[in-house]
Structure formats: C-alpha cells, structure tokens
C-alpha cells in the first residue's frame, strides 16, 4: 500500500495542483464590463490614430481606429495586460503609435526637457528682475547723494567765506 502510494505520488500531486489551479481560476472575479471599458478608453487614448495622426484612437472614428479599438477590447478580454497590448501595437507601428514618449532612454529626455526649459527660463527671469532692481536701487541711491564739489567750486567757496570773514573783521 505504502509502495503504491510512493509510486503514484507525482500523479496525485499533479492532479491536486491542477484542481487547485482550476479552483483559483473559477474563483477569480470576471472582469466587469465597466473595467473593460475603462481600460479600453485609457489605452485608446494612449494610441495615435494611424490615419488622422493628430488625434488619439479614442477620439477618432476612422476605420483603422475603430478596428484598433476592437482589437484592444479583444486583447483585454483575452487577459492581456496594458503593457502587452501596447507592445503589440509598438511592434507593428513603432514608438510612433504611442502619443506620449516612453519614460526611458531618449523618451525620458523629451519628458524632462520642457520642465527643464521652464525652470531655466524662470531662473533667468528671476535673475534679470533682481539684477535690474539692484541696479535701479544703486542708481537711485547715487542720485540722492549730492555730487562732490570740484576743486574750482571748493576754491570759490573758500574765497567767498574768506571774503565774508574779512568783511566781518573790518
């Protein structure tokens, strides 16, 4: 009896594993129509219409866009992930089909560049405004101070003062 069990345990284990998998699959909640629709719309929004190009597959009613939406729906129902679905279209159309570049490699540069440009431009504006304000303050301060007297003016004042003093003494 023990010997029979020992010989047949791999088959029993395989049967138990199969039963467990079937049970798991049957207990797994089926994707609701709302969930399918939500994923379909999100993916269709990420894909570019091959015919019209300027708009997404989601916003396009061109025949190719309609077929792409139907294909995406079928792939979702087959259990494929969003990444697998996008990978399928990228393998057929190239990265071009994705409306937003991938956040890796050269695509990452495209994501970072606009923000970097705004930061640099903002920094430049702040620097320019502060620099011009300091210069204006310095000019104002300089304008408030009386200009130093020239030698000729100083001599003339000294002469006049001396003359007043001489008049007083007289």
């Amino acid at each position: 009896m023990t010997s029979t069990l020992r010989k047949s345990w791999p088959a029993l284990a395989a049967a138990a594993l199969g039963a467990a998998l079937l049970l798991t699959a049957s207990l797994a909640p089926a994707m609701s129509e709302e969930e399918v629709e939500r994923r379909l719309l999100a993916l269709a929004d990420e894909l570019r219409c091959p015919t019209c190009q300027a708009i997404s597959v989601k916003d396009s009613e061109a025949s190719f866009s309609v077929q792409i939406k139907e294909k995406v729906r079928r792939m979702i129902l087959e259990g494929q992930s969003d990444e697998e679905i996008k990978a399928y279209f990228v393998s057929r159309y190239g990265e071009w089909i994705l409306r937003a570049p991938k956040k890796e490699g050269l695509g990452l540069v495209l994501w970072i560049l606009p923000g970097l440009a705004v930061l640099v431009a903002g920094g430049w504006i702040v620097y320019t405004v502060q620099f011009s304000r300091k210069r204006r303050d310095a000019e104002t301060a300089a304008a408030d101070e009386p200009a130093p007297l020239s030698e000729e003016e100083q001599e003339r004042i000294a002469r006049d003062l001396k003359r007043f003093e001489d008049d007083d003494l007289a």
């Binding site: 091959p50 015919t51 190009q53 025949s63 190719f64 077929q67 792409i68 139907e70 294909k71 079928r74 990228v90 393998s91 057929r92 159309y93 190239g94 071009w96």
Partner: protein
C-alpha cells in the same frame, strides 16, 4: 556685441529653432519607418476573392512576395492597379520567382470583385476579415501600402502610397537574387 555671451546664447537658441523647423517642415510625417522591415512577415491564411484557392504566406517560401494592401474605395489604388497587374504578367512571362498578392481591407466581397473586374486584375486577390487582423498585424496606416517579402519570409521594404514599376522592379530584382529565392 560679438564678444557677449548673451549674444551667442540668443544666436544658439535661434539656430536651434531654425534647425528644428527645417527638420519639421521637410520631413513627411507619413514616412515613419516600419518596425516590421527586416522582421518576419506576419503569417496570413486567406481564400481567393470569389472563392476557391486558399493561400498561406508560408506556402510562398522561396518566392519574393509583393504584398499589396488595397481597397475598392481607395482612389490611389486605381493609379497602381495596372502597374501591379503588369508586374504579375511580367513575372509569369519571364519566370521570375515572385508573386503579387493583393489583400483588400475594410471592403466588401462584391465591391472588391467589381474593382478587380474593372481594372482587369488576375493576380491572387483576397479580403482581410472584418476585424482587420491582417491589416493591423502589418501595421497599416492606410491604403495602398505594399510590402516586399523575401524568399525567407522577411519583410525587406515597405512602400506607402501607390507603388511604381521602378520600385517593383528594383525590389523584386534584388530579392529574387538573394539567397533563399528559388530559381
């Protein structure tokens, strides 16, 4: 002015803008290189328009395949209709190991048949299914588009828009001479 770094910064920005605009305005956005070029052609299994003969891409191993996607509603497809038919007859006459295959997309059998009759098409014509599986597998942007597939089943060239005799002759000559092509 010439020694000022600000001057050169502005000049660099202007130069960059001019370069970007030049690239943008001189590049046709439709000429995006297909990622399928130099990759195995997606398999297909079709039945001849009007019924009868069944054809799979795998059956054409050893021959150069000129795979043309077209539609009866497509105006540009009329321009290339006689060119493809002439190429088909030329291949047959000269014994060139090449086949012209036409797959109509987003079309109906009746309209596709009427178009084929009107333009005297005698090469193998088939219809993509309603789901457009073949068209999507080949990453079509529109019609006409033509793929040149070598004897090993690898896509070597993709033509967007009407195909010309020059392109057909150049591609078929090159691919028919390549290893894997049946003499």
């Amino acid at each position: 002015m010439w020694g000022s770094w600000k001057f050169w910064l502005v000049m660099a920005a202007v130069g960059l803008m001019v370069a970007l605009f030049t690239y943008g305005f001189t590049t046709d956005p439709k000429l995006v290189k297909s990622p399928l070029v130099n990759k195995p052609a997606p398999a297909f299994d079709v039945t001849r328009l009007g019924g009868g003969e069944r054809l799979r891409l795998a059956d054409l191993r050893g021959q150069t395949v000129v795979l043309n996607f077209w539609a009866s509603w497509c105006a540009a497809c009329r321009d290339e209709a006689h060119i493809l038919e002439a190429a088909h007859k030329r291949f047959q006459r000269e014994g060139t190991p090449a086949r012209v295959i036409g797959i109509a997309v987003q079309d109906t059998p009746a309209k596709a048949m009427a178009f084929a009759k009107r333009f005297g098409k005698t090469y193998f014509l088939a219809l993509d299914n309603e789901r457009g599986d073949i068209g999507l597998n080949y990453g079509l942007y529109g019609v006409p588009e033509t793929f040149f597939i070598d004897g090993e089943g690898i896509i070597r060239h993709k033509q967007i828009g009407p195909v010309t005799r020059k392109v057909i002759d150049e591609q078929v000559r090159a691919l028919s001479a390549a290893p894997g092509a049946k003499p």
